[in-house]
Symmetry: C2
Subunit: 360 residues, 2 copies
Amino acid sequence: RALRIAVIPGDGIGQEVMPEGLACLRAAAARFNLDIELDEQFKDWATCDRYLRTGSMLPEGWKETLAPYDAIYFGAVGMPNLVPDHISLWGSLIQFRREFDQYISLRPCRLMPGIACPLANKKVGDIDFWVVRENTEGEYSSIGGKMFPGTDREVVIQETVMSRIGVDRVLKYAFDLAQSRPKKHLTSATKSNGISITMPYWDERCAEMAKGYQDVSVDKYHIDILTAWFVLRPELFDVVVGSNLFGDILSDLGPACTGSIGVAPSGNINPEGTWPSLFEPVHGSAPDIAGKGIANPVGMIWAGQMMLEHFGYKEAADIMMKAIETALESGGSQVITPDLGGAGTCQSLGGHIANLINKL
Amino acid sequence: RALRIAVIPGDGIGQEVMPEGLACLRAAAARFNLDIELDEQFKDWATCDRYLRTGSMLPEGWKETLAPYDAIYFGAVGMPNLVPDHISLWGSLIQFRREFDQYISLRPCRLMPGIACPLANKKVGDIDFWVVRENTEGEYSSIGGKMFPGTDREVVIQETVMSRIGVDRVLKYAFDLAQSRPKKHLTSATKSNGISITMPYWDERCAEMAKGYQDVSVDKYHIDILTAWFVLRPELFDVVVGSNLFGDILSDLGPACTGSIGVAPSGNINPEGTWPSLFEPVHGSAPDIAGKGIANPVGMIWAGQMMLEHFGYKEAADIMMKAIETALESGGSQVITPDLGGAGTCQSLGGHIANLINKL
Ligand SMILES: CC(C)[C@H](C(=O)O)[C@@H](O)C(=O)O
Ligand SMILES: CC(C)[C@H](C(=O)O)[C@@H](O)C(=O)O
């Protein structure tokens, strides 16, 4: 059966990069004869514009409507000048993660050709790892409250909640991913020397899980020194797994260390496929450059590449990756977008990559 | 009256770098006629050796004995092959922090001459900021527990606790520090878009505190993107303040970004002076190189420099800093230690700096 994708471009540059992402996916589908349905009926979903018109980011019944799709191909959301982020984000993206139990957040940290690395003396190939983040529980609970408000005794409490089911399933995903890679190496982010209840539990479950993966080498670092190693020795890493908060931090820091925060993709994954997964670029809606036609479409295209890889279309995904790399490396300054020092446009770079997918 | 300092070298290279730190402090005291008493009677306190002999890291009555001192000048603790870290650390350093209410942890992030920066294209002067960390509450509570152990329903909970007193006093310290600096800029680390109870409270107290510091410019970043900015634009920062966990992360990441994690100092401060503060190098006891005489003494000496600055001996502190920088820049390969590419020893580098303090 066809892979059914709900296309939601969202706000700001989401609307500009999406057509390029779709063109590249169509090119890959045509070349490899993939049966992919890209449903574009969701043009105004998850937009602040819709919120201002109707009072909600998504129409009623959104969950039932989206549930049958295999994935959501998502642009970006947020127009902080018009709608506060806690409304736009929590009314759309965060709803998708929670309601569709997208308990894995997955992000590549990879040095790309043509993109300056903020770390000294690194070259393409040196940095290439994945951050796997728990995406539903942990530090992001909404349990807690305030006592003695407005007085000197004021105290505020918030609970971190880790369940065996929640911890084990993200560890399993990360171990499986590590096992599938040549280095077979997994790094667990912890802080059991300071956060003395939940983090030792995380360590314990990780040690337990490791028993089932004798061929995966495992180490753990406390989050403080781990962030230091991301900067000092990023070559060490292959798959890095962390709790909701630690994964959130590492999955911004990792792409920052490779200079790729503007072009990296992100997967919010429900591995069993009970619910749709969501693939999006890491960059946001970038209101400051929206409408100018100069947004870099690589994050959107790379998110599509990740989506194909996730669903097992390896050959097509490999060509898409190669097309992205080739374009960044040798597209030339008339094609490359201004954020990377070129004079090209969103369309010139997107079109160039789509062409390469056809003929590489 | 004399400044009374309890000298505790501790484990591993703590014992080697301490004599160099003391020599430099003595040189500064002699030159500027400072009345400083360096009490060396604590040679085996906070050592794993003592723990193995007596069953505890510190003698009974340690708190009463140390309480009258103005500060503890501390080397390092830990010999993980002999004694687990949770015993050695929690039985000494962490006790000091808690019992002496050292509610500020303070660390400089500064590019030093002669030390390679892991970030590309940075030069001395580009990076120079402080991380101020809350050091007593927040995410490091010991409240919580486990339910349904050993079953699929297993769930572990740990509470983050922020009190108005605890949050306000660290913010006040950070604002005062920012106000004393030329840039007068403060950055607050938050995560109020995800950690939805304690972090909005942190933001609220920060906004309230800011009202009393009209001359300080304030911004806040979510911790995920803040770690990215540490790598991408460290020039932005002047004083960065964070909760116990966020401060812990940023105060390793910051020194990592300047390549100075092996030479940076750390202050654990009780600002009112009700209890002794503690100054130490960030590097640990480094059992792998202990006894070889090649440990870099700069962290220990810089910690002494920070201590003098804290107690208002600005002239002496400035000369110590200049001596450290001059030695790193032009000490030459026979003086500089192997970690920085030289062939010198702990003594050659320490002696060189002490000499410079005499005559610069
Ligand atoms: C050893 C550990 C508990 C400690 C901390 O997290 O406070 C350390 O990382 C530090 O920063 O001094
Ligand atoms: C917007 C925010 C709640 C979110 C998170 O922390 O999960 C973001 O930082 C992300 O990583 O997608």
